[in-house]
């Protein structure tokens, strides 16, 4: 494989080729439109429908070609193919609705049936076309895998205008589509024409699919309907943000894909676009700030550390409560099934935070003022909750310590106050340490 020269890279990145500019504009517009429609498709849980529609365009493309060929129109122009594709994907939807209406076959099976039958029909028609004189068949095969590089300026205008229309409709009906996706029965009950909205959304999906045939190809068009919105969910909450990020991901995937395919002209553009989308998805999966793996494991780790800190503080406080303030390490080891290593590393961590001091001479620890007030708060929460469980939740005292252990870390100030009210503190003064804030008064 030939690597591109630096000169080549610069020429492509600065968009000096007319062809690169055209392809880039068309592909990015399609990516943005697909990202928008895809957001609704994903939330409507109809992603597989996009795949079925994509495959169902193949016979339409072939029929469009045959009609153009028969009537003497240039069979390489995209318009007849697009019309044919629209026709058969609408027929695909109709077939789905018919199967759903007149049988008890589940949706996933119905989708698979329509997908394979339509695609099979398309493949059969293609092999018929191959036998026609003129050698057009290879041009059609391009459409299966996508060939953005061969986009003409007429094709690009079709893609641009279509993408613009799709985007405008999605934005204008943003609120209506969101409601349809979230709660269709409610939308219907409050008077929205849910069926019409649903049909419109499906039509937009068909339209997007047809537009995408040339850019990414029949087989891969579903990728741009599904991957960008799925990626968007790793980056943001909120419907508006999700649709925006999804459109952005779609556009970026196409941008990267087109650049890559300009650098490596032997690689099909469609595949490179989808691979770019996949890379963006993977990045979101790992680094996404709302649902990424990294942020989630950091959160879990942080909670775990806090839990360990709380337990150690409580243990030191409880050991010191009835004796001198300095607690020997050996006594801490008996409090919980802790290893010596765990205890020493935890103590080192707490000492770093200034919560306790460790004295080497007698192998013991002592809480600092900050550590003491924090420990007092924790023990207080723990015992308040224990008392509550014993007195009001009728839980056997033997089980209470363990249950309280889990909840004390998450008690909010308001709940603690409520607990105090419920338990009417006075009789338990000895058991429950005083509020560190109030004890200064």
């Amino acid at each position: 494989m030939a690597y591109p020269t630096l000169e080549n890279v610069l020429r492509i990145l600065t968009l000096q080729d007319h062809n690169t500019r055209i392809v880039l504009a068309g592909a990015c517009a399609f990516g943005v439109a697909a990202g928008l429609v895809g957001a609704f498709l994903l939330l409507r849980k109809r992603s597989l429908l996009g795949d079925t529609l994509g495959h169902a365009t193949l016979p339409g493309v072939a029929i469009g070609f045959l009609i153009a060929y028969g009537t003497g129109i240039d069979p390489r122009s995209f318009l007849p193919l697009a019309l044919g594709a629209t026709l058969t994907s609408v027929a695909g939807i109709a077939a789905l609705l018919l199967i759903r209406r007149f049988s008890t076959i589940k949706d996933d099976a119905a989708l698979a049936i329509v997908l394979s039958v339509f695609f099979g029909f398309g493949v059969a028609l293609l092999s018929a076309i191959q036998q026609l004189p003129g050698g057009f068949a290879s041009g059609l095969e391009h459409l299966i895998y996508g060939s953005a590089a061969t986009m003409s300026s007429t094709d690009t205008s079709f893609v641009l205008v279509s993408s613009l229309c799709i985007a405008v409709i999605c934005i204008a009906l943003f609120k209506e589509f969101s409601l349809l996706c979230f709660d269709e029965p409610y939308a219907r009950s409050s008077g929205w024409p849910a069926t019409a909205l649903d049909l419109l959304l499906m039509s937009l999906v068909v339209w997007t699919t047809v537009v995408g045939i040339q850019t990414v190809g029949i087989l891969l068009v579903v990728a741009l309907l599904v991957i960008p919105p799925a990626s968007a969910r790793f980056w943001c909450d909120g419907m508006g943000a999700m649709a925006t990020v999804s459109a952005l991901c779609g556009g970026l995937s196409c941008l990267f894909g087109v650049f890559l395919s300009a650098l490596f002209p032997k690689w099909p553009t469609g595949a490179l676009i989808v691979l770019s989308a996949g890379a963006i998805f993977a990045a979101g999966l790992v680094f996404g700030p709302t649902r990424g793996i990294l942020i989630r494991s950091i959160r879990t780790r942080r909670e775990e550390l806090k839990l360990r800190r709380d337990h150690m503080l409580r243990a030191v406080f409880e050991c010191a409560e009835n004796s001198s303030e300095s607690v020997p390490l050996s006594q801490l080891l008996t409090k919980r099934p802790w290893s010596r290593r765990h205890v020493t590393s935890e103590i080192a961590r707490l000492a770093d935070r200034g919560l306790l001091t460790f004295s080497l001479s007698n192998d013991s620890v002592q809480l600092t003022t900050t550590g003491l007030s924090e420990a007092r708060r924790l023990v207080r929460n723990h015992r308040l909750w224990e008392l509550y469980l014993i007195q009001h939740a009728e839980i056997a005292p033997a089980h209470v310590d363990r249950d309280a252990d889990r909840i004390e870390h998450v008690l909010s100030l308001r709940i603690v106050e409520e607990l105090e009210d419920i338990l009417d503190q006075r009789p338990h003064d000895r058991l429950v340490p005083r509020d560190p804030e109030k004890s200064h008064l």
Binding site: K175, C181, P185, S189, S190, R233, D237, M239
Partner: protein, 256 residues
Amino acid sequence: MTTPPLQINSLNVSYHSKLVLWDVGVSIQPGRTTAIVGPNGAGKSTLLKAALGLIPASSGDISFYGGPLRKCRSRVAYVPQRESVDWDFPVNARDVVAMGLYRRIGWCLPVRSIHRRMADEALADVGMADFACRQISQLSGGQQQRVFLARALAQKADLYLMDEPFASVDAATEQAILAVLERIKNAGGTVVCVHHDLETVAQYFDDAVLLNMRIVAQGSVIDVMTPENLRKTYGARLALVDELETNLSSSIPARK
């Protein structure tokens, strides 16, 4: 006499050629709360959905305030079952409540700050003011139920149709819903709830409709919730089905 907010006459509904509701006639009294009570599979939710036109009825008349539903959509608010939607949807509590205002906002126009304020008021009415910006996936089941209730309240309707609002909710939510029912009633509104808990029917509601595919009894809770009626609704399901089948075979002319 005032026109009833919801009047259903001889309603028949079937799913896949199996009868679910048979000759149901219900008259809901204005300014009162009504529970629709019956065993699982009695068609309680189906009754609400059929009344709202969400599932097709084989036959029957349904009128809201003396006319068809489309004449008075804004006066009727629906609270679906909590399980009917995917709560992992990327919206926050305020967004969901604002959906109750979409009709008022109209086609293609965005939700503006005045609508967000109205949504916040509705959230405050169900004790959820602090949760307006919380993602709905992060709410507890009871809080989600209250968000649904707030969405209906935001519509400022006169008739509220609620599908199992009390199903598996915490005590705080139960109190919040009861307070809302009281407030609706005091404002002259009407509430119809599908309810599953027999013990609380008399405590929570004014009227009850006992339903098991057909109406067993309806009226004020004191008159309706008798052991005799309950046995008819719950205890003798087989007998009911037998009766239904005899009735069916005699009332439907045989096909050729």
